[in-house]
């Protein structure tokens, strides 16, 4: 019997990757549409997918503007998290005493109920983009600190010995050994933070209101809720999820490029 190469070296076909999730999506949407129509569920409770699609098309300009506004706050917050989180992880890694003294307060950022603190942010930073960005920062910074610290603490001790043996300076050790070694962990922290930043921005918008005179997705969700426009609310939530996904994919792609350069597992 003739054996093809495909039999000895199985390949993953594109449709086998994309097919299952697409099929799941189609089935769920059809079941949802059918259930709403057959059970005659009021539209203000659960809108059918067709109504959500109509809202997406009819209010596209408003929703696109809201998405851009939220994206700006989330990106700004994520940027702050990346810089401050990585630097904080680095500082904490310098000594165990420093870590013991400061880590509990970094952990506080993870446990602080952002909805309760958001009004304070408006008081301190004023309504708008700054409060939204700080909210996104507070929600997303801890994973960056924790993962940076864990990555730096996990550096191969024998390589540390080697650098000591050759009298390497602290800066040399940091840039030639510690940071490259910690890159996969830092990338993991950034990926988690990217999704959280969007959540933080939307929570910030609930309280901080309009950002630079424009409504973000958080405001759109609140307005749609007050008008019982559940279709618009669903459309805004979908866009918020897509925004989080887009930021995640962008961070994932960028980190994969850097990790490949450093021959680290992607």
């Amino acid at each position: 019997m003739k054996r093809s190469n495909d039999m000895t070296r199985p390949k993953t076909r594109p449709y086998s990757l994309v097919g299952p999730p697409v099929a799941t999506f189609v089935v769920i949407v059809m079941a949802w549409e059918l259930a709403v129509r057959v059970l005659d569920i009021p539209r203000f409770l659960v809108p059918p997918p067709s109504a959500v699609l109509s809202a997406l098309i009819n209010d596209l300009a408003t929703l696109a503007g809201s998405t851009m506004t939220t994206a700006r706050g989330a990106l700004f917050g994520f940027f702050l998290s990346s810089i401050i989180g990585t630097c904080s992880g680095l500082v904490l890694s310098l000594s165990k005493t420093l870590e013991r003294g400061l880590y509990p307060y970094a952990l506080f950022l993870q446990t602080v109920p952002i909805v309760a603190v958001a009004p304070l942010l408006v008081l301190w930073f004023g309504p708008g983009l700054r409060a939204v960005a700080v909210s996104a920062f507070i929600v997303s910074v801890f994973p960056v600190i924790a993962n940076t610290l864990s990555g730096l603490r996990g550096v191969d001790p024998r390589l540390k010995d080697l650098f000591r043996l050759y009298g390497a300076s602290r800066i040399d050790t940091l840039f030639r050994l510690d940071l490259p070694f910690a890159l996969p962990s830092i990338a993991t922290g950034l990926r988690v933070a990217s999704g959280l930043a969007v959540i933080g921005a939307i929570v910030g918008e609930f309280v901080a209101g309009f950002s630079e005179g424009r409504a973000g997705l958080g405001i759109t969700v609140l307005a749609a809720y007050r008008q019982l426009r559940t279709d618009l609310l669903f459309a805004a939530v979908i866009l918020a999820s897509l925004l989080g996904l887009a930021l995640f994919v962008a961070v994932n792609t960028a980190s994969a490029l850097v990790l490949r350069r450093f021959r680290a597992p992607v």
Partner: protein
């Protein structure tokens, strides 16, 4: 034998009553009296956990001495030009930086000692050629076999031209044939460079083939229970492993190891 890196009258390593106690109070080494002359090739044998690696770390300065005295003349001797350290260290695993090529890994110690890049590359390439990896200089560690990675690690340890080379079971994870080939290369390198070598191993035949002198340690707390020369010709080809004289040397070491392998036989 010439004595690179130091005065021949002063031993390269001298320990008197050397001991080491870990942070948890465990006594790792006790009463080690040892002298290693310049240019010697010494094999260090002993049961697992007897303190062989700790002794290497003490000599290299990676651990501090708890008891007794230790003078490492080679550590103060001038290594290669521009390099401050006089000790090369090869660990059990290669421990290479995966994001650096073979050349960049080997040149790393020189970079850390601020040797100009061009000069560092030239010296690294020479060391890479010495371990017969010239064709792999631009490859990355994940593209090499285990044996090749260990050769890179040895080249990295040699690139600073250290008067003292410490090797901690460098070939333990390799298959027997690869290990024998690397042993032969290492002995050739030692003969050419006349570096002082302290080589930790669990393999009796490896110790006999490589070294001019063997030291056997007892169980923890590690003490020296046998220190004797290896009575074999200076020129040793691979075939020597089947000689009667080789087997006799191995048997002596085996006897010492077995005798002191149980706690009740540990020397007082």
């Amino acid at each position: 034998m010439s004595s690179p890196g130091g005065d021949a009258a002063v031993p390269c390593v001298r320990a008197r009553g050397l001991g080491h106690v870990f942070g948890d109070g465990t006594v790792a080494l006790d009463g080690i009296d040892l002298e290693i002359e310049h240019g010697a090739f010494v094999a260090l044998l002993g049961p697992s956990g007897c303190g062989k690696s700790t002794l290497l770390r003490l000599i290299s300065g990676l651990e501090t001495v708890s008891r007794g005295s230790l003078a490492v003349e080679c550590a103060h001797a001038r290594a290669g030009e521009g390099v401050s350290t006089g000790i090369g260290f090869v660990f059990q695993d290669a421990h290479l930086l995966p994001w650096r090529t073979v050349l960049e890994n080997v040149a790393l110690p020189l970079e850390l000692c601020d040797v100009p890049r061009e000069q560092a590359e030239q010296r690294a390439l020479k060391c890479i050629a010495d371990v017969e990896l010239g064709d792999a200089a631009r490859r990355f560690p994940d593209e090499l076999s285990g044996g090749m990675r260990m050769r890179v690690s040895i080249a990295r340890a040699l690139v600073t031209e250290p008067p003292l080379l410490l090797l901690d079971e460098p070939f333990a994870a390799l298959d027997e044939l690869t290990r024998q080939r690397l042993d032969e290369r290492l002995r050739d390198l030692w003969k050419r460079r006349k570096t002082t070598v302290l080589f930790v191993t669990h393999s009796l035949s490896e110790a006999v083939f490589l070294a001019e002198r063997a030291i056997v340690m007892s169980r923890r707390p590690g003490r020296i229970v046998l220190d004797r020369p290896i009575d074999l010709p200076f020129e040793r080809a691979g075939g020597i492993r089947t000689d009667v004289a080789f087997a006799r040397q191995t048997a002596v070491l085996y006897e010492a190891l077995e005798r002191y392998d149980s706690p009740e036989n540990a020397p007082v």
